[in-house]
Symmetry: C2
Subunit: 139 residues, 2 copies
DNA sequence: GGCTCTGTTCTATATGAGGTGCATCATAGG
DNA sequence: CCTATGATGCACCTCATATAGAACAGAGCC
């Protein structure tokens, strides 16, 4: 679990931590059951306060992606293999995605290009090992 | 140009104004050359300060979507018909989109579902009139 | 030239978010 | 008991958000 953050960027540190972990879950680098670093430890590693790390972890807990216990620390509770999303989550996501896609359209990207972009990004996440036999794998 | 905002929501008002206008550009409700309401006027209409409106407009100006003049006010400068996006824009957009897609994967949405969702949203934007002769238009 | 409408700029203020630091408590395990 | 861990609370600072008032500048119109 290697995390790199941008301390002086426009996006808050705790948000960056949340985003990087979400991406780690998507790529499979952080599967269900895997433990994340302790808040104090990660704080030291990143050179930030452990409260900030805690805030990022707490976001993920609210989203249902993390389970946080006293001694076990933060453990991934949900990933691509965990079934359908929690009810109510999709509304907010769709609204945000709508703005993202509108921005691309307004900037002149063609519909087909946008879709291809999304497919490429997703292909970078899942090496086609989650939904059936992949290239070069036994069936 | 009807704008509705959520004053008590988690997303800043000026950001909402920016987002709604971006979507209006994408849908074609605000084509190139069309004028937006004056900042003071829109401020009154929405019940907010005109400085907040100004901040939203300024964001769009920085993104190259708006041209703002003394007397003409805010005029849409760019939309889906304006050619390829400005260089350098795509990097940030791809990074943000990466996080959005990772979230969907982590929440359990299948790759195919995500793509279909994006296609549906885009279909709601562009009624297939932008890429080639449209229904009822001369070729 | 005046008048008005527009954006621009400046100052000021109030509220909340982001981030850090320190201290303390609670719990689970050796 | 001792230690590592998360949970909680408090104080503090910086900066973003939002509002408000005032004054300035350009462009169009009478």
């Amino acid at each position: 679990m290697l995390l790199s953050i941008e301390p002086d960027g426009p996006v808050p540190i705790y948000q960056q931590i949340r985003d990087r972990i979400v991406e780690a879950i998507a790529t499979g680098d952080a599967p269900v059951g895997s433990g994340l670093p302790a808040t104090r430890q990660l704080g030291v590693d990143l050179g930030i306060n452990f409260h900030t790390v805690n805030k990022g972890y707490d976001l993920l807990r609210q989203e249902g992606l993390l389970r946080i216990g006293r001694k076990a620390g933060a453990v991934v509770q949900r990933d691509a293999t965990s079934g359908p999303p929690r009810p109510g989550w999709e509304e907010g996501w769709t609204a945000r995605m709508r703005t993202m896609l509108a921005e691309a359209i307004a900037q002149g990207l063609a519909s087909e290009e946008i879709i291809v972009h999304c497919q490429d990004i997703i292909a970078g996440f899942v090496p086609a090992t989650h939904y059936g036999p992949a290239v070069g794998e036994a069936s």
